[in-house]
Amino acid sequence: MADIAAAPRRRRRRPNLHLLVGGSLLGLFVALAVLGPTLAPYDPMAQDLFATMEPPTAAHWLGADQVGRDILSRIMAGTRYTLSIALASVAAAALIGVALGSIAGHFGGRVDRAVTGFVDLLLTIPNLVLAIAIASAVGSSPTGLTVAIAASFVPSIARLVRSRVLELREEDFVNAAVTIGMSPWRVLARHVLPNAISVIVVETSLLAGQAVLVGSALGFLGLGVQPPAPEWGAMLGASREALEIAPHLVMAPGLAISLLVFAFNTFGDGLRDRFDPNMQQR
């Protein structure tokens, strides 16, 4: 950790635009996920057949869909599906990935080979195939979708953590911890992982953006939350046939997805700028 040693007493923190923009956008989405259905101007399920496929108007700001449901209300109410699937899958992937990667890197040898082999095996299963397999076995559900996304993210987190732990294993302070009689598990928990936390945080926030995309794509294919629930991917899928006569039907969920991905990615970039000493100069 020569960089830290060489740094002045307090590193000067410039206001981080990425962190600010990404963070406030994310905050907005989280608020929507919690309060969405209450704030929505209409019941997201209520059909107003006189407004069928109506383009944006004063009454329906984002228009209405094929059965006259208010799109703005559906987007607002649907935030919780997309966001919770993304967060849950990334959290699960982080938990498993960090455990696998740190054990492989810290203990090395046969353990490392076994874990790395398992992770490589996981890498060969496309998330789409896994999602279909789960859906066909237990039916389409948000849980199945989450498991499929999580499984596809485990390898990248595990590999990242493993390489960081391998680096840290060579550090003097990790060896010093062994010389005071600490058990390997305790060394891992007290001295290795705390120094790997920044790469884990950055990677998971960037993966969360991807999880939104993958989740929406699988939802579009009908593998996750089932209509009529207002999940964005499912909304896209349902509007596909009306694409030519009512393009506003796909615009709204499409934009919502893009905005959420943008929020996660910007936030992740901001975190990286903050944590990664190599990215400081610009």
Binding site: A5, D172, F173, N175, I180, G181, H191, P194, N195
Partner: protein, 327 residues
């Protein structure tokens, strides 16, 4: 004097891709209670490996203790199981490393890192641990211990961090401190202060120290007894005054002769003496005395036959066929 540590015939082999080689050969060494023993040698002489072998910190494999015993508190550390070793490390033997800049966890405050040892071996935590750490900080002469407790390593100088490491090493009041080049990375002023601390440990607490160094100036200032290592073997052991007055091994003589003498006039003192050549590689060790290729007094016998150790004065043991007797 009863011995705290007794290394007997220790041989450490390394399993490398080009074969197996002994990096430490038949090393015997004792450290008595309240004694500072220096283990001196140049890079590659096996001194650090010996120190790490005592703590059983060598990566096994590739390293392997092929023969010998490390006696410490009626146990043989050379064959002790890992859980016994973990109980001894940090509690009964404290270790200090060369690099204070990287030996502390950068993401943790200094005090809690020392407190960790106390929690591990003494079950001490919270306020009691903090109080003990502040006492330890004062003992290693860290000014304002209460404030330094909450400093991060990057807020400390190298000398300060080395004091923290020393505080960590003595936290559980160990029987033995193993210090591997503890002052090499520090400037001379700090170096003198750190050596002062080691001497105070010996004089006030009767603590035993195994000091690994390549610096004879450090040895002269600190140690009671000296063992000189070359090519994985101890070539000469002597009390410190005796060594500087009447070194009998040509290698030790060479080392002493290569210390610059500041009292000599710069105009007349001439070129600094050096020992020609370099330490032979592990796989190119001569059959006989490892120093024979560089030795000014070498005879054909030296290259063929390993010299036996002989006691030439009380506590003075030399392994050389053509030793230089006292002038």
């Amino acid at each position: 004097m009863d011995d705290v540590l007794a290394i007997e015939g220790l041989t450490v082999e390394l399993d490398l891709s080009r074969g197996r080689f002994a990096a430490v050969r038949d090393v015997s060494l004792t450290v008595g209670r309240g004694e500072i023993v220096a283990l001196v040698g140049e890079s590659g002489s096996g001194k650090s490996m010996t120190a790490l072998a005592v703590m059983r910190l060598l990566p096994e494999p590739p390293a392997l203790i092929a023969a010998g015993a490390i006696r410490f508190r009626d146990k043989d550390l050379a064959s002790a199981p890992e859980d016994v070793l973990a109980g001894i490390r940090g509690d009964r033997i404290g270790m200090i490393f060369q690099e204070p800049m990287t030996s502390l966890n950068p993401s943790m405050r200094a005090g809690p890192q020392v407190a960790e040892v106390l929690a591990l071996h003494k079950g001490l935590d919270g306020k009691a641990a903090r109080k003990r750490v502040e006492e330890l900080f004062a003992r290693v002469r860290i000014p304002d211990p209460a404030r330094r407790f909450d400093d991060y390593p990057h807020q400390m100088s190298g000398g300060m961090r080395q004091r923290v490491m020393i505080a960590m090493a003595i936290a559980c009041d160990p029987d033995l401190v193993v210090a591997d080049e503890p002052t090499t990375a520090l400037d001379v002023t700090t170096q003198a202060q750190i050596l002062d601390i080691f001497r105070a440990f010996r004089d006030e607490d009767g603590r035993s120290t195994l000091l690994i160094t390549h610096d004879l100036a450090v040895v002269a200032e600190t140690a009671d007894r000296v063992a000189v290592m070359y090519g994985g073997r101890i070539v000469e052991t002597a009390p410190v005054e005796r060594l500087f007055e009447a070194a009998a091994h040509p290698y030790t003589r060479g080392l002493i002769a290569s210390i610059p003498n500041p009292d000599e006039d710069i105009e007349t003192r001439g070129r600094l003496t050096e020992i020609a050549g370099a330490v032979p590689a592990l796989w190119a060790m001569p059959k006989g005395c490892a120093f024979s290729p560089r030795c000014p007094r070498a005879t054909p016998r030296c290259a063929d036959e390993q010299p036996s150790s002989e006691t030439i004065a009380p506590g003075h043991v030399v392994a050389c066929w053509n030793r230089e007797d006292a002038r």
